[in-house]
Amino acid sequence: MYSRVITGTIYGIGSRLAYVETDCSKGMPSFEMVGQLSGEVKEAKERVRVSLKNAGMEIPPARLTVSISPADMRKEGASYDLPIAIGILISLGHLDEQQVKDTLIIGELGLNGEVKAVKGVLPIVQRAKEEGIKCCILPSANAGEGAIIEGIDIIGVNDLKQTIDYLSENSCGRAQMIKPAKAAPEQLDADEYDVDFSEISGQENVKRAAEIAAAGFHHMLMIGPPGSGKTMIAKRIPTILPSLTREEGLEVSSIYSVAGLLDDKRALIRTRPFLNPHHTISEQALAGGGRIPKPGLISLAHRGVLFMDELPEFKKNTLEILRQPLEDKKIHIARTYASYTYPSDFMLVAAMNPCPCGYFPDRNRCKCSYTDVKRYVSKISGPIMDRIDLTVEAPKVEIKQLSAAKKTESSKSIKARVEKARVRQLERYEGTRYRFNAELGVEDIKKYCPLGAKEQELIEQIFNVMNLSARVYHKLIKVARTIADLDGSGKITTDHISEAVSYRITI
């Protein structure tokens, strides 16, 4: 007899529905599986056979054929175990196909029949809902993750026996047996961080730069000696970024789900990610990759902050990888088996020492020659520097300042200003591909950032006196636009421009 069970498969960070088709016919007893299956999917054969036996369901000698379609896609992972087991039971006549109608099933089986957690539940459930599926049977460990998607019943199961019993019941009995999982309410609106800007004393200018960067999603660079609080400030930038919308949260959660980093306690990501790769990180780990591509750190930092401390210490090749994602906000990875596109719309916050020893221009401590200093800075290529809109110096913090630390402005009140600036940007860019000022293309700067005669005159004067290059021009205007948004001004004024000038790079 033939049966068909719906399941899902991950593709990049998206997903597709897949179908487990099973046929049981007379003939030489065998168990064949087809459909471009990877090693771990083929091994399902043994896991399914033994776990069925341990659930009290012996497979009679028969010719079993399992096909997972669509056949042109490679299948990975152990999430097909449970749908295969259910498919076999239907084809053997133990269950009825009507009982799995409009139901998506995923889960890995243990030999004792236990249903184990799998990766990528969130994007699969999301897809299932879009395709009109009414119910999802998931490992109970993944139920919280699936429950984030509203409008679809999520049934978390613990073992194969329970699954069979559940499917055998009528709708009334089912409701009594397992209640559809609900997302923990605090998961839906928790936007809490365990750090706060009020913990930073002094560094007013660096904080202001961080606020502007957060408001316009500008990439930023902090230059300063060791111990000037660069890392502390970077860690707190997610706390002043606008809150993730539900859609953005789902998007970020999907990436984490595919990477297997979601758990029940953190099913829906509501906080902006903060990633802090060490400078020895490999190119693959940063960009994503592997034989079967997995999202890299730049994708895990999607909609959040990628903090690169000691920027010049990163390998040149590693830094160059950032060029495409910084421009396109996504990264394409092509490998033998697949070619995936992962989103990577992150805010780059970089930090560096002014020279190899860190103390330049304090000549009493810095022993680096000018050539050393230049060589150190030139490790960062022009194209990367070009994408960094704001640069700020973080000076050494005096001990006196630390001991006299009084609480300064909290992240919450800074964030309130940032949110207002964001609303202004959303209004201005309605119907376009832009969301933040930093994304503005050169061709649209004139359209969205018109300058008055007085402002134009100031800019010309600035360029003449300070001897700036044309490259700086567009950055300057974009930053001035964000400052104006923070100020609640529709027009860029000379005040905004003259503040923006102070964030230019001078190395």
């Binding site: 200018n205 002014p354 330049f360 000018y370 110096e393 600035i462």
Partner: protein, 374 residues
């Protein structure tokens, strides 16, 4: 042909490999003239050459003869606009004549200094501080503006800054190099090199094509001091190479001046030590000009030197009082203002700094904002 034939042969001998200054002079003296010295090399089989300069050097000279002829060498130099003069010529700088171990000849690009003008060497550390940079530019610029030639070594740090300040002030400047005159070292000063060619000369006793070697620099230093009437040390740490120039200057009877610095700054230790040993104290070009009685020989002082009155906003005025020639990060400025009881938000300070920059009263450089005086 008006080219002095003797010069062509002298140049050939000078550019010869491995011959010491003494041997070159010895050879010239023994042969009677440069031309005759050359014929000695041609007829080296006669044994005369060997008798004068020894077997090893005579062999290497004969080898050298096979690679290039005097005429060939001279044409090559002409092609590259490199000039040559040696101690028997009239255009050989008079200042070199009196010093011990004077160079046999010098190669130069550009024009040699006027014998009647006064000159000052402005020298110091390569790894200088912002203070050193400021003082080098100030003193060299002022001296050059008054018509004093600035001599230095075109090195990174003080040397190069003094020379570019001299050019900016419209004066003349001469660089004595540690390698051949066609070898731009350090390469990052190549812009300055071409500026110097237009406003003075680069000079070297090493044949064109000679790579700068570490041991050649102290030897070159004696020419820097020899070419100057006074040596001004801007910044030097305790064991600076600058001291070799100072020692040469004292040996050659040149005046030595040093710019004082704070006792705690390691880049000023050398200067303060010189001052203790009796060097002249230079806080400005005027100090040197006064002491040496040059006032009558020089251009009048430019009267527009004083502080320009700026119409600034109150914030900008307060910041201007805080700024220093040592760059300060903006947060340092905010902190110092706070200590003075003036709390300005960061954005207001940013705006005021832009105002100061536009008035050319401050400048943003690596490390923060710096005060510009005058």
């Amino acid at each position: 042909m008006s080219i002095n034939e003797e010069k062509i042969y002298a140049c050939w001998i000078d550019a010869g490999l491995g011959l010491s200054r003494q041997k070159k002079r010895l050879l010239l003296k023994a042969a009677g003239s440069a031309r005759q010295a050359y014929s000695l090399v041609i007829n080296s089989s006669s044994g005369m050459l060997e008798a004068v300069i020894g077997a090893q050097d005579s062999q290497s000279l004969t080898q050298y003869l096979k690679t290039i002829t005097p005429q060939g060498l001279y044409e090559l130099l002409e092609e590259r606009a490199i000039n040559y003069t040696y101690f028997m010529e009239s255009d050989y700088p008079q200042k070199f004549v009196d010093i011990p171990d004077a160079p046999f000849g010098i190669f130069y690009k550009g024009e040699l200094p006027n014998e009647n003008s006064v000159s000052a060497a402005v020298i110091g550390a390569r790894k200088c501080t912002e203070y050193g940079r400021y003082m080098a530019e100030k003193i060299a610029g002022e001296l050059a503006q008054r018509g004093v030639d600035i001599i230095s070594g075109m090195a990174l740090g003080i040397d190069g800054m003094a020379q570019s300040a001299a050019i900016k002030a419209g004066g003349k400047t001469y660089a004595v190099l540690g390698g051949g005159v066609d070898n731009i070292y350090p390469a990052s000063n190549s812009e300055l090199y071409y500026e110097i060619l237009k406003n003075g000369a680069v000079i070297s006793e090493y044949a064109p094509g000679t790579k700068p070697q570490k041991w050649q620099f102290p030897i070159r230093n004696r020419l820097i001091s020899a070419l100057s009437d006074v040596v001004v040390v801007i910044e030097a740490n305790e064991k600076s190479g600058t001291f070799s120039t100072v020692d040469m200057a004292l040996e050659q009877g040149r005046e030595v001046y040093a710019v004082p610095g704070r006792c705690t700054d390691c880049m000023s230790i050398g200067c303060n030590k010189l001052l203790r040993q009796g060097a002249g104290l230079a806080t400005s070009a005027e100090d040197i000009i006064c002491d040496l009685g040059w006032r009558d020989r020089l251009n009048p002082k430019n009267m527009s030197d004083g502080k320009i009155k700026l119409h600034l906003s109150q914030t900008a005025k307060d910041i201007y009082d805080v700024l220093d020639i040592i760059p300060m990060a903006q947060d340092d400025i905010i902190r110092i203002l706070q200590q003075k009881g003036k709390s300005y938000p960061a954005e207001q300070v940013s705006k005021a700094l832009c105002e100061l920059e536009l008035r050319r009263a401050a400048m943003k450089i690596s490390g923060g904002y710096q005060l510009i005086k005058n």
